[in-house]
């Protein structure tokens, strides 16, 4: 009869045997497909931009027509409201200036629109710059749990079921500093605003897995989650709907260009939920 130690030793030795190198042909096939995808995406983007421009012209013409004073009847006609231009779905990658709609229910409880200027990148919201240094970002997150300790976060998950519980958990969270919660509105919905900061000199290597984590992906799924890095400020707006919670978040860094921070606030001001 083998002991547990024997079995472990034998299994480890056995696993060490066998192939390790990925053949070049497989890597080449991957990179070829990536290039082809990127080219197709660029072509689609150009086509989409042309299509959006064409639709915009038609919308303007239609709106102009419906708003023209009628020549028949008495007192002139009352124009019908001009239709709202259709917001484009959020792309992954560079965004043309315009209004975008986010409806992925893994990201948000309600669809929302936001208007971005030139130079921003899509994905799960809008970001500008290098997020590993001085980039700024607006995104949303569904939250079911938070960590009681953002530095030594392993095994500290706390479930949260409503705004009061989430705000209380955020307020009690150890490992970083935070502002006093403020009741406000965001995108037309009631919200509670809290700002988290981590000192630029903070040594994250002392924390679990070398990062400071505020919450995991919903579920909880600890394969992902939101980290806060030294010198970063994350502002969250907590929103609740039917017992589910989400946050709208803005992220700025200590060295983020002031112009980018101002533009981020501008985008935030355009955000509108569609409850």
């Amino acid at each position: 009869m083998s002991t547990d130690h024997d079995v472990t030793r034998i299994v480890r030795s056995w696993l060490d045997e066998g192939v390790t190198a990925l053949p070049d042909r497989v890597l080449d096939a991957v990179l070829d497909q990536v290039s082809a995808t990127a080219r197709r995406y660029a072509q689609m983007n150009r086509f989409a931009q042309a299509a959006i421009a064409a639709v915009a012209v038609l919308v303007v013409l239609f709106a102009g027509y419906t708003l023209l004073p009628r020549t028949t009847g008495t007192g002139g006609g009352i124009g019908t409201p001009s239709p709202t231009p259709t917001a484009a779905p959020l792309p992954s990658g560079t965004m043309a200036p315009g209004t975008y709609r986010v409806s992925d229910n893994k990201l948000t409880l309600y669809p929302y629109t936001m208007t971005v200027p030139a130079g921003w990148t899509g994905g799960d919201g809008a970001l500008r710059g290098d997020m590993s240094s001085n980039g700024v970002r607006l995104t949303t997150w569904i939250i079911t749990h938070v960590y009681a300790d953002s530095c030594h976060w392993t095994g500290t998950l706390v479930p949260v079921a409503d705004t009061a519980a989430l705000v209380a958990a955020f307020t009690a969270q150890a490992g970083h500093t935070r502002s006093t919660p403020i009741v406000t509105t965001i995108g037309g919905l009631p919200a509670t605003k809290i700002t988290f900061t981590l000192d630029a000199a903070f040594d994250v290597t002392t924390c679990d897995s070398g990062n400071v984590r505020l919450w995991p992906d919903p579920g909880p799924d600890e394969g992902g989650g939101w980290p806060i890095s030294p010198g970063q400020t994350t502002t969250v707006y907590v929103i609740e709907s039917d017992g589910r919670l989400m946050v709208v978040m803005t992220v700025v860094r200590k060295d983020s260009p002031p112009g980018d921070v101002t533009a981020l606030q501008g985008i935030l001001a355009t955000l509108r939920f569609e409850p």
């Binding site: 079995v7 480890r12 990925l22 990536v34 990127a38 990658g93």
Partner: protein, 182 residues
């Protein structure tokens, strides 16, 4: 992993992605092979996982989690490859007669077939835990994080898997022991 490289790739930089793929390709392939026990399936799983990395990178919210995230995509690709074929073709390998024994004296050659059979009886879920923990030396909490399952589930899967492998080894040892007793 260099998070700057990850961020550049997230923003659509093909060159950065190529560097990432080169950096992680061997590691992903080695893990896929050990989970699937088949070279062709492992290559297909690795290729699919790398393509999924490119496609889903913009959704990766924390570049520092790239390694764990890429392993998760790989394990998913292994599930998909495993489903494609109900019966996996074993890789036949000629063993040289003078293959060295393990340094501490036990004869790994004698255990290979039993381990291979025992391992193939395990589900992909169980294999993934064994490989991440015993091949990559990942602590169990990180395995749980990588696979997106509770730590208790990982411990249970590992326990079940190792019990199965131990049974495979002991089953082979039993007839020999009986013969020796006669």
């Amino acid at each position: 992993m260099d998070t700057t490289l990850v961020t550049r790739a997230q923003n659509g930089d093909e060159g950065a992605f190529a560097s990432l793929a080169v950096a992680v390709g061997d590691r992903l392939h080695a893990v896929a092979y050990r989970i699937l026990r088949d070279t062709d399936l492992a290559e297909d799983a690795t290729q699919q996982a790398l393509l999924n990395v490119w496609q889903d990178l913009p959704q990766l919210r924390d570049p520092a989690r790239f390694d764990a995230w890429s392993y998760r995509l790989l394990v998913r690709a292994c599930y998909a490859e495993g489903r494609k074929t109900r019966r996996w073709t074993p890789n036949l390998r000629l063993l040289p007669a003078d293959e060295p024994m393990a340094a501490d004296g036990f004869d790994l050659v004698a255990h290979r077939d039993q381990l291979e059979r025992g391992f193939r009886r395990l589900s992909i879920d169980h294999r993934a835990v064994v490989v991440l923990h015993h091949y990559l030396d990942m602590p169990l909490d990180r395995v749980a994080e990588t696979l997106g399952v509770p730590a208790g589930t990982v411990r249970s899967r590992l326990h079940h898997a190792m019990r199965g492998l131990r049974a495979a080894l002991d089953a082979d040892a039993r007839p020999a022991a009986r013969e020796a007793a006669q």
